[in-house]
Symmetry: C2
Subunit: 344 residues, 2 copies
């Protein structure tokens, strides 16, 4: 019998509720001979208020020995903005070198898009996860005075760009349409932008079968709402990827459905899977949250660990459930329905 | 008789065509006793290829003596990305301290939005225009090698943020709904983000009648497509404003209709008005471009120079034209129709 060591970080707000359903579906999907050893870590607002810590070193060490991490959501209004995001979520992404932040944008049949005319949407955003404006490099001078100056430094390396760009080309090459779009803002952010553009062209020579184009980030948002069907694979920087994937979630039926994987393809550290949505404190604890985004993140987790058939089963269960949705169901009703489909 | 010194920079691609229509409507709108002295400056790709210059010092000096600038569009595929943008367009915005980049997002009656369900959209984005990631501060190390590092530095000052935030509060206070939304990413870009947030709160104490809220930029893009009616006035940084205003243009019927003003309220330097769209080289010279965005930018120019009634007349002409649109018309047919409405 095989075993799978899974770290679970439910986090704040609706995190707890959606993660419970994700685990339910995971259990239903895995082959009988696979034993899941889950270790739950109580990180987030509660720990922060109790101890002032966001990610204790001992926890970081333990997490290194896990096969994967399932995360619910991080963030609470009682904690100053940025503390948990930088001290926990981004710390994990950077510590475990999650440089491939994978975010599908898919409009499932039966799901209503806010866009008119039922567009066909099926793309994936490969967001860089360990560089750019997210590095936390910056500071303030004359803090708190009318003369304050604040900086944010975007750091970009050829090494970091090349690996995510090559990953995106590989994904594009493996898809039927074989199309890859680079999104940046190279007419304004010329230093980083030209580095991205040059590497994008260089690596492209290894993939002559992939069609490429380039869009400025502002223009990309236009096409997301006017021509989303034009996209197949998109590769972009950390901040642009953050913005575009929320927009992608919106046009594909909302963040209740948007999954993500923070992936380190080397396997040196565990990859981490999480819904794109936040902790939604306004609806927390009421059983109202849609766990589908978490369940789809579980499908990505399965895929990442090599359980390809099981991942497909979970995605198919979600597709079937969405196609037949009617009325309101609670968080656990949705989870139960999905688990039943996966087992059935 | 009064006179108005207007610098005209048609620029590249469709710039020439749309500016011609903008001037036609301007002439039709102005009171008979106002003499317009236009000076045309041939800046853009042509000048760059001829002389290597983007904005000669002598031109910059002359522009200082103008009352306003009307700009068409800048950019051509024959010029490396960034050269004209940084060397001409952004140079003007920075040299003339255009810190209020004003961009209305309004869905006119009769205009089709890509969003389902005919939302009511009427907001204005007050984009900071002289700071943030647009300052051009950054560089590369080991350029062109596999070890290259590229940086982009976002510079933010209390001075620069306070003036744009106060301007946005004033605009919000003058509108019926009196609502102001700050958009940033203060959970990741904590240095700049907290400075924006603190100043937003401080200045807000002077405007108790204005309702405020805060959105992360990623969440803001979601609401742009799912609940655009929730926005009244938005204030945001230079880069987020760039992204959000293209998205705003998309949901309000396209960049063919999106106007903008690069405003220096002090009057020390001329303000500059331009459509949000680019030079669209693919349709240039064919009389296909919609000049409406330029005409609406002319309305903003009129408003800025104190011709309030005339500005309203131009906007009313556009509204009437859009409400009755059918079939395709050429660039000059649209301009003629608008000029006729304004004079009639
Ligand atoms: C919570 C926040 C730090 C995070 C990000 O900006 O990456 C979130 O928006 C996301 O997209 O996962
Ligand atoms: C052309 C480019 C430099 C410019 C910008 O990024 O500001 C444009 O996108 C705009 O929004 O006016």
């Amino acid at each position: 019998s095989r075993s799978l060591r899974l770290a679970v970080i439910p986090g704040d707000g609706i995190g707890q509720e959606v993660v419970a359903e994700g685990l339910k579906v995971l259990a239903a999907a895995l082959p009988a001979d696979v034993k899941v050893e889950t270790t739950e870590y109580d990180l987030g607002a509660r720990l922060y208020h109790r101890t002032g810590e966001t990610l204790p070193d001992s926890v970081l060490e333990e997490l290194k020995n896990q096969d994967a991490i399932l995360l619910g959501a991080i963030g609470d209004p009682s904690v100053p903005s940025g503390v948990l995001e930088r001290g926990l979520l981004l710390k994990l992404r950077f510590a475990f070198d999650h440089h491939i932040n994978l975010r599908p944008g898919k409009l499932f049949p039966g799901v209503k898009s806010p866009l008119a005319g039922d567009p066909k949407i099926d793309f994936v955003v490969v967001r860089e996860g360990t560089e750019g404006p997210y590095v936390g490099n910056g500071g303030t001078l004359r803090t708190g005075t009318p003369q304050e100056v604040a900086t944010e430094v975007s750091l970009n390396t050829a090494f970091g760009i090349e690996r995510v760009v090559r990953d995106a080309y590989r994904r594009a090459a493996a898809r039927p349409r074989k199309k890859l779009t680079l999104v940046h803002k190279n007419n304004v952010l010329v230093h980083a932008g030209h580095l991205w553009t040059r590497i994008f062209e260089q690596v492209g020579r290894e993939f002559p079968e992939v069609t490429t184009d380039y869009l400025h980030v502002d223009a990309a948002t236009i096409f997301f709402v006017t021509q989303p069907e034009r996209f197949d694979v998109i590769v972009t920087d950390n901040l642009f990827g953050d913005i575009l994937t929320d927009l992608a979630a919106a046009v594909t039926g909302g963040i209740g459905l948007a999954a993500s994987g923070n992936i380190n393809p080397s396997g040196d550290f565990p990859s981490m899977f999480e819904p794109v949505h936040g902790s939604a404190p306004d609806i927390a604890g009421q059983g109202k949250a849609d766990p589908t985004a978490t369940v789809l993140s579980v499908a990505m987790l399965l895929e990442h660990l090599g359980f390809t058939a099981e991942a497909a089963k979970v995605e198919a269960a979600v597709a079937a459930d969405l196609a037949e949705r009617s009325g309101t169901r609670s968080t656990s009703q949705v989870g139960d329905a999905l688990a039943a489909r996966v087992s059935g």
